[in-house]
Amino acid sequence: MNAPAFTDNVQLLNGNHAVAWGVRLAAPDVAPLYPITPQTPILEKLIEFQSQNTFDAELLTPESEHSAMAAAIAASATGARVFTATSSQGLLLMHELLHFAAGARTPIVMFNVNRTPASPWGFWPDQIDSLSQRDTGWIQFYCENPQDSLDTVIQAFRIAETVNLPVMVNHDAFYVSHSVEPVSLPSAETVKDFLPRQPRQIQLGDGSGRSLGAPIDQASWNLTRREMDAGMSLVEDLTAEVGRSWATLTRRTSAPLEQYQTDDAEIVFVTMGSMTGTARIAVDTLRERGVAAGLIKVRLFRPLPAAALRAALMDVPCALVLDRNYSPGTGGVLHQELKSALFGMAGAPRLYGLLTGVGGVNVPAETLEKLAADYSDAAPDNNPIWVE
């Protein structure tokens, strides 16, 4: 008799514990970790798993996130599967090494909990910490809920190890990191088969005597970025393919972009992270009132799935980009990205960049419903708009 296919174990977990479960199942060899609110429960859960002998990575607890990332890079360059986690100040402290990790083609998986950076101090959901790292060469995902975070962190190892680029998976502080929801846990065998150990092409200490990262001439440095570009260009399709094979194992879909009620939509919200759940409720309410609303969740942000976004927004009259972040001097980062993705497209929507929930301000579904009413027939506006 075949065992029933989908016998996942469902547990009540908050987003961070869902991540820790995903990491435990992915079984990295090395995990350098440094605490920071609201990431710390990931660290604590992994250390708890280790004390129970259910997680046997080499755990390093260095003095800073900077050293955690330095150790992660070096361990990954030596062929190990590596995980680390951080948030806000910690991620920003790593900045130099984020470029380094991508340039060194180390397939590290890092979980970042999106939190406002100081000054002033705050602990609130806001995505500018990771969005401001968008040029470092890391693949970036934004998750909506604990299940999404668990599924994505597991998939991230496969994506990273296929293209030899590091992956940063993000979820919002508290709204996801500390919210408890039922989470379906795949079996250890499922994940083991899904994440086969691949021999690394170049590995420090592999007997070849090859050094890594030594000074290089201009043309060769240039070539490294072309090679990264080639790697990045595979990621959108790879994400879709990895999502499909995950779906055959778990019946849960995950794609670079996720669309909800967009087929006949006249007005579409574009979101990342936890705002997606709120927007889904707003779409349902608007539909009940006869407004043809829809939703696009950008799950893969780097590389930006630009062609898919163009296809999804083709001939949609109006799109509202909901940015829970603010880049001073320009506005919302997703808004900028969409403007460039849609530039010159015939049939592009009127695009509004709405700064919603910057600094963790609560954005109820009613606010989004009101925005839909306010902007469905408004004059075009290229500038960022602060939403009360």
Binding site: T78, A80, S220
Partner: protein, 293 residues
Amino acid sequence: MEKISYSDEGQFCSGHVACAGCVEALSMRVILNAVGPDTVGVVAPSCSAVILGGHPMSAAKIPVLHGTLESAAASASGIKRALLAQGRDDTTVLCLAGDGGTYDIGLQALSSAAERNEDILYICFDNEGYMNTGGQKSSSTPLNAATGSTPLGKVTRKKNLIEILAAHRIPYIATTSPSHLSDMAAKIEKAKAIRGTKVIIVLIPCLPGWGVADNAAVKTARLGVESGVFPLFEIEDGVRYTMTVDQKNQPIDAYLAEQKRYRHLSDDARNKLQAEVDETWARLTAMVDNCPL
């Protein structure tokens, strides 16, 4: 004349790009041969990284990760843990860094690795300044030495990194000098056999940085040892101090005379420097004499 006892297994190749006459290259040859082929290295931006040469060539036979300036000890920790995860417990992980990368920007990572007692062998090539960026001061630059950023002489003393490291109670700390290559090889071999964090500080009189003649770096290093400016000793477990070479048989003048960075020194400044050396020497010999067995 001392006979040098170390065997060259070809671990450091010709074609490196050190300044002609540089004793850091000489030291690297001894260190790489003493540490042997079953080694993975990390190098911080510094003369040692430059000496190893540009991609795809390398003067080192061992593989080396060219890391960031402040992370040598953290990177080495990561390599060690990855090797442990692969069951390669016996491979040596070697750090090569300058004094800037050790006393200054990398001290935080080094202190943390030492506190965790990571199983790494950390070499600091101490040329008492930032030579890679053209010769500015570091916190290892001694009192009164002129550098690009202290043109009138540094007004504060050299940081006593060794005592800071000793306070971490790591299993092994030593100083060595290219004037005493057998001592250098012996200390590397001893350190290699110990599990835990080992730090060896190598005195490197830098030709352009110190204003030393092309053929005078070894001599300058020897004078540094014999004047007690750079005593050769080791500390086990942070408490057991041992002098490893007979030394301090002369005042600092011959040492200073080899170097243009002290050319401007007044008698008063020279006397202050001598007093500091004498005081440090007395403190060190007291540590040796009072050391627990």
